[in-house]
Amino acid sequence: MTGAYLLSQIVNGLVLGAMYALIAIGFSMIYGIVRLINFAHGDIFAVGAFAALGSIAIAALPFPLAVLVVLLAGALVGLLVERAAFRPMRGAPQVTGFIASLAVAIILENLAVMTITAQPRTFAIPAWLGALVPLGSISVRVVDIAIIVLALVLTAALVGFVRFTRTGMAMRATAENYGVARLMGINIDRMIALAFAIGSALAAVAGLMWGAKYGQISPLMGTVPGLKAFVAAVIGGVGSISGAVLGGFVLGLAEVLFVGLLPSEFSAFRNAFVFAALILVLLVMPNGLIGKSTETRA
């Protein structure tokens, strides 16, 4: 095995990890505030991929503008889902919201299949994104670097927002203690909606990246990456943004290296590996790598 091979596998792992990280942030933010595992999150990722296809291939928007459109489309769908499905059942047992999110996922997937068919589509990227750049002993595509950089920039912006603005402080307060935050005059509804909007926007951008990286998208593409991103959020520690990012990169790297370094007969066990890792992490470190132990045991 050559060093170059290992290095290119690491780059692939980082790219996959960047996408997992962006999806996982949404899971973590939403879970942090309303204790809901939003199963429809993976489908918002798919919505983002199709918004990107529409704005790049059909509307021929320049790439940075397309990113903006995708962010807005994701935020809009996230807000819509929160308002229609989750807000009316606030205060119900956890499991209720979980089932509702499964229902939302099915609605989104079938709406997509009905309107744009389940046929996978090719996702063409501008030529400059496909160009190769030499990096040490290997050469990587511009798109790979763009994905990692964009993911880091968005994450940094989010962390800055949550840490240094008034609204960010209100969001942290809501996640810390819902009831007390309300007593302090924070508009809980708006904070929850904001968490959904931000989380969904980031997942949508991950959808764009997925299309750009692998060149093919379909309405049902979101299920498995969505679930894996949830695994990433758990590995990092659910509820923490930096934990989600860390978990995303760890899982992306681990998955790619699992497939790339072990003999090929194991590579088909890729998904099994990810979920086995989840179960293991939940059992050994239920609070994840950097999560706080606030969950009650009983």
């Binding site: 499991v95 209720t96 939302v104 079938n110 890729r270 099994a272 179960i279 939940l282 059992l283």
Partner: protein, 339 residues
Amino acid sequence: MSAPAAFLLRFALPVGIGAALLYAATLSLDPYSLTILQFVGINVILAVSLNITNGFTGLFSLGHPAFMTIGGYVTAILTMPATRKTAMLRDLPSILAAHEWPFAASLTAGGLVAALAAVIVGIPVLRLRGHYLAVATLGLIFIVQSFAVNLPGITRGALGLAGLPPVTNVWWVYLVLVLTLLTCWRVKHSSLGRTMLAIRENELAAASLGVKVARTRVLSFALGAFFAGVAGGLWAHLVTLIAPGSFSILLGFQLIVMVVLGGTGSIAGAAIAAVVLTLSTEWLRPIEEAAGLFGASQIIVAVGVILVLIFRPSGLFGTAEPNVFGAFARRRRHAQSTP
């Protein structure tokens, strides 16, 4: 009322009436409708058995499709003619390859293997709660599927096992259905069932009263898995095929929907919801095809679920059983008491 008479009224009589109706159905219905009837029966078995895990004990498991896959494969491998087994399944131990088992024994074996898998998986995984358990059991579906795809010497990989003997018929389904309902009913009204409900309502309180929480959880998980395994075997021999993707997350979701709509913990509720949902999907399908809107029926069902969760969060019946005789008696008492 003496105990045998009560048993006759509550159990033997309905079973007899059901059998008579079923006999009438086999004489009058076309094969297509009979197939639908069998799917309805299998779905009732699945929903009612999932209700043991999710409804009684309150463990949020999505893993039923995984156990159906295990049970389906085990049953299929056992019933397959020995000549085909030696030709197609090279890695099968020779004891299994040389014989073909009768259907009843194969179904039981399928259920037992599924239950065993549930015990092995359950001991670590059932320490998780709520959401985490749901996602871990969901992961179980993927793990089982990976094994089914990647052990071609036993499962023929992604091709699946096709051309199984079509031995499932309405009577097999009815027999398993009756056994499932009877077991669930007996469990719910036993001390074990009350233990399960106690764990669901307040685990800490139950534990401090001496309930063996971990053991009861694993037991209810395994019991649900047993019937899922048997149902997987029935299903495989109804459609004469079992493949890694036969039982998907979507099915797991539909089963959860049945349990939730019926009222978590209500046997009759789960059964009724299973019947209604299976039939309505079946009836909506021609409309869907005529309109060219594939997937519309699933959207309708999903919207219905959200509405029920918002407006009637405890489902149709809650944990109670609709008591036909009891309601009748109450009405009479009520009529007598009003002058």
